[in-house]
């Protein structure tokens, strides 16, 4: 369930703050100690350490230990219960336990080594009453890496999309007006909504979502606000912009003021139409609902990041008879806008709408770059499927996140 926007931002941050391991890992068979094993302790043959290697792509604080399991395991399945991984800083020094793994496991990543220091390892197989040690192996060193090779795919795609966007911005700047952008039906909807509000002498309500200016959706919403304000300024309609964040409020004021300047009516700009309400999610919802019920604005815009409030706004707005235009990149909330509003900008359209409304070459160019990236995705998926079907999977391995 969604909490207030700011908390989402904070929380999302906590998720982003370390990298996500690849999906598709299967869990080890965690074999629990069978309590039925009451027979006399059988003889256990020791396991053998096969390799000690630096764990790749880390800060140099981990060593991967692999061993051959005790041969007894396959002869007497219940004899060995678990393995202990032990570590020492000299071959004859004191070995301390760093890990315990269930029977059947043959590897362990020992986190907690210092980069460059030598370590010796020993594996003990534990039976009911016996403990058998492998030969000591070592020394092994952990080293830190300067490039995370497991993330080649991420790097590749990051560079690809960034380069495409930058290149096409340059292209569009050099030849303004040359890049074609499809006319989104929302343009007509915006004109119609504002026209109607003007005729009825009612306000235009603009909500820019629940996140602050540090979210790209809010910035995208602002570039649409600029166009909406252009229209309202030239038609002479009044706006009503309650804000959830103080910073976003200042930004909206600047944006709308510029619009009034652009259409040559600077004295008609009224700062009080853009005001701060509260930063609490449902407190804000309660406030905006009140505004809708009291003032009955004729056109409602909900553009930006929205959470649970999406449907509450859209239904209250409908009850007051407003034309409603929505748009968000919050996938979970799109269904509610699509169902309850007259027009909805879906996902990327939110980012594209501002660009194609303004015709600003920088924005138009970056949209072109995004389109090319999508074409690359298309080809990449198609190539991947074909290669997989004929049994080649290097494309997959190349980009595996690990």
């Amino acid at each position: 369930m969604q909490k207030s926007g700011s908390i989402i931002a904070l929380a999302a941050f906590l998720v982003l703050s370390a990298h996500i391991p690849a999906a598709g890992q299967t869990p080890d068979d965690t074999v629990l100690i069978a309590d039925t094993l009451k027979t006399a302790a059988p003889e256990i043959l020791p396991p053998t350490i096969v390799s000690l290697e630096d764990t790749p792509n880390d800060a140099g604080t981990s060593i991967d230990v692999t061993w051959e399991v005790s041969p007894t395991e396959s002869l007497l399945p219940a004899a060995v219960l678990q393995y202990l991984v032990l570590r020492a800083t000299s071959p004859d020094g004191e070995f301390e336990r760093v890990g315990t793994v269930p029977v059947g496991t043959n590897s362990y990543s020992d986190d907690g080594t210092e980069p460059g220091d030598p370590y010796w390892y020993r594996i003990d197989a534990v039976g009911t009453d016996v403990e058998v040690s492998s030969a000591v192996s070592g020394p092994a060193h952990s080293r830190m890496q300067w490039f995370d090779r497991g993330r080649v795919g991420v790097l590749l795609f990051t560079v690809l999309t960034c380069v495409l966007v930058v290149v096409f911005i340059q292209v569009a700047k050099r030849r303004p007006g040359k890049v074609f952008l499809r006319r989104l039906p929302v343009f007509d909807a915006i004109d119609e909504a504002i026209g109607r509000a003007t005729e009825m002498g009612k306000k235009v309500l603009y909500i820019m979502g629940g996140l602050d200016v540090d979210d790209p959706q809010t910035v995208a919403s602002m570039s649409i606000l600029a166009r909406v304000a252009d229209r309202t300024a030239s038609y002479g309609a009044r706006m009503d912009i309650p804000c959830i964040w103080p910073m976003a409020m200042s930004m909206a004021r600047e944006t709308v003021k510029e619009s009034y300047l652009r259409v040559g009516k600077p004295d008609e700009y009224n700062e009080d139409e853009i005001y701060y309400l509260t930063t609490d999610q449902f407190g804000y919802v309660a406030g905006v609902d009140g505004i809708m019920m009291r003032d009955r604005p004729a056109a409602n815009f909900y553009l930006g990041a929205f959470y649970a409030e999406s449907l509450i706004f859209a239904e209250t707005g409908y009850a007051t008879g407003a034309i409603q235009i929505a748009g968000t990149a919050e996938v979970d909330q799109l269904p509610f806008f699509v169902v309850a509003c007259d027009y909805t900008l879906i996902g990327e359209e939110l980012y594209a709408a501002g660009a194609s409304l303004s015709g600003d070459p920088v924005q138009v160019g970056s949209i072109r770059g995004q389109d090319i990236a999508k074409a690359v995705f298309f080809v990449y998926i198609a190539a991947g499927v074909i290669l997989k079907l004929v049994g080649i999977d290097w494309l997959e391995r190349l980009l595996m996140i690990g």
């Binding site: 998720v15 370390a18 299967t26 869990p27 629990l32 315990t100 793994v101 979970d332």
Partner: protein, 274 residues
Amino acid sequence: MSILERISNLDRRIIFLTVAIAVIVPLFLPLRLPIEVTPPVQQLYDVIDSMPARSVVLISIDYDPSGAPELQPATLSIMRHCFAKDLRVLVLGLWAPGVPLGVSALEEVAVGEFGKEYGVDFVNFGYKPGGAVTLVNLGRDVHDVCRQDHNGTPVDSLSMMDDVRAANDIGLVISMSMGIPGSDQWIWYYHARYRGNLATAQTAIGAPKYYQYLQSGQLVGLIGGMKGAAEYERLVGRRGLATVGMDSQSISHLLIIGFVLLGNIIYWLEKRKK
């Protein structure tokens, strides 16, 4: 105004009233519709059922009271199952407002129904801040993260914790989760490192996302929304709030479908009239 128009412009307040009725009436007149158990829930049940006695199950209360209608019944049922199988239960949580929910569940089930002893059969470490980072540390050294329980008792004086020191001493982790931090963190930062069995209970909003982890084997079970909780209640053989709630769910879902149909019939009639 014709009848058609009148229905078409039905006062929203009438719709609201019917929703309230659809939820309230089954509370008094239960239908007891059969609840089919789905594989993801059965899977979790089987895992717990096959755990040796005295194994440790960690239940992470990663929700606040607004997730309680869906998740608290699941927590209760899982605890019932664990204590019935003589497993030991370790409770902690990544959401601060969830602590009282964990406390009350343990009071109800562990103390009230099974007469279990605190510190021997179950412990509660309360809220653990820090999300991802905490889970990474937890898997390596439980005692370091859980230095005191939620009442401030040091971990060393809880006998149950003597042999619960690292991830592999914990037989199963169940994250009862309604968002972030929650099962995402358990998957990415705990399970990815320490493996072992991990399962999750989710609100209906969160659940669809976790099917992929179930397929990939990262999760050994998934309880989705109030329905999943009701299924678990059926498995442990004790009707709880989720089962009661499912009747309300059935009726209100039917009601909504009814409204959709009604809306379409009116729409179709109006169109034909024109």
